[in-house]
Amino acid sequence: MSPSSVALVRRGRLRRIRRRRTVVAGLTVLLAVLFVTSLCVGHTVYPPYDALRVVLGDTVPGASFTVGRLRLPRVLTGALAGFAFGLAGATFQTLLRNMLASPDVIGISSGASAAAVFAIVVLGLGGTPVFLIAVPAGLAVALVIYLLTYRQGVLGVRLVLVGIGVGALLNSVVSYLLLRAPAWEVQEAMRWLTGSLGSAFWDGVGPLATGVLPLSAVLLLAGRSLTALQLGDDSARALGTRVGTSRLVLVLCAVGLTSLATATTGPIAFVAFLSGPVAHRLTGGNGSPLLPAALTGAALVLTADLIGQFAFDTRFPVGVVTGALGAPCLLWLLVRSRRTQGAL
């Protein structure tokens, strides 16, 4: 073996690592810009300097209330939820080697959504107790889908189809509960149908962050075993991965993230589904897909919320915008899948 071959291997590896780092850095900058923009723009426009001072705790007349009380929690909620959806979506898609297997398509967010609506409408709860119901409900739905699908370990397309069915069922539960509910604001109802940041205030940010941050940390650390599992169970195990444990940890974290975010913002349509593929396009599929997908998810939600609030005469909830963006992409993927020998 010649030194030049080692150099060649090394060069290629470093080039791909650089590309991935550039993408992550670019997405981070984009996210920061979106973050600040969302704080500044609104009925009254504040200069970025004032907005940042508010974030850092200074008192700025006028801005302190609008930015500090209204916009900041909204942006934080959007970013956290987008991050969680993107991360969970990419985890599922990678684990099941199927783009359609994202938690919003296969009904896991519907589980959390239905449970949250049930907790609010029927049980009259609010705040953290809603989480405590939504997260186990998400897990339970994931388990049900798994049991309905499981047959000698063969997952894949059937899981997607079963998941879509379960999701449709649960969505009709959500609609029914919303219809029965007394005078609901449209904004609130939309939150549970397509996802909205319209009711994102400080009291929701704390619980969301407490759940999302540790789960994200675990998932990002477990990224290595996720990339090992991409090779299939046999190869992963032959390369020293503890397949069962890794998969369990990954699924639990991803379901937890989906449920937490859904319980706060509602199922923001297609963010989980789109983030992975978009990030994959950007990185070219190098390394773990998780961090780029998470950043993409957060950027997607903030962008869609800006569009929904300010691009039209009427304000649209964020989920309507992401839905309008996501549906064509879903169709495109379905059409394309015919060319990939029908594998969804």
Partner: protein, 276 residues
Amino acid sequence: MTATRTLTVEAARFGYGGRTVIDGLDLRVPPGRVTVIVGANACGKSTLLRGMARLLAPERGAVLLDGKDIHRTPTRQVALALGLLPQSPAAPEGIAVADLVARGRNPHHSLLSRWTRADDAAVARAMEATGVLELADRPVDELSGGQRQRVWIAMALAQETDVLLLDEPTTYLDVTHQVEVLDLLTDLNHDRGTTVVMVLHDLNLAARYADHLVAVKDGALYATGDAAEVVTARTVADVFGLRAEVIEDPVSGAPLVLPLGRHRTLRRQGVSLTKR
């Protein structure tokens, strides 16, 4: 690296969800030699190999690596000693060839350890040996079946284990590359003392390259030993249900199987070479 590891299967039963495929099988893999497993489709070759690689737990009996139950040894420790090329591995979408080969280094790393020059060197060595260095930066999903197969072999080589299990390493390969891969594995065996166990479908190549041949029939060992002992017209008839003539391969001296199909055989068989 010449620590010869022993791999033995003791009265093992393997199956899938209540369906037994292999029962009471004993096998002692000769350390530092090339063992080839042959047998008809669905007779349990892959199942046996997966059991030996710790991918499938025996329902009864045990698989021992260096005398220790492989199923009680941590996955990573096994992965440092024993590499596997599965029958139909899956490549992640868009991954570059060199990155896939680099996955073979996984067991050598923990969560925090850094990629070293030695890792790059191992990857380069494996890619050079399998002739995929020119493909280094291409995405795996754009390769031909044979190129892809060589990339997977490179990944198993990059793992640098003392024991290498390969399930049909020559599928998809043209005849030149089949011989090349088998020569490569033989080199590995000669130079580094790697114990090679592989499943092959081509009986003639199996007979030529095996130090030790294992014929499996319906989940049980039918015959083991030298190619010359194992590959006989009778074994071929019993194991594969195929009428054949076995002569001496004039190139290697190993047995050469000439199948007798229903067509295209000269009336007078048993040509001029020595019959077995």
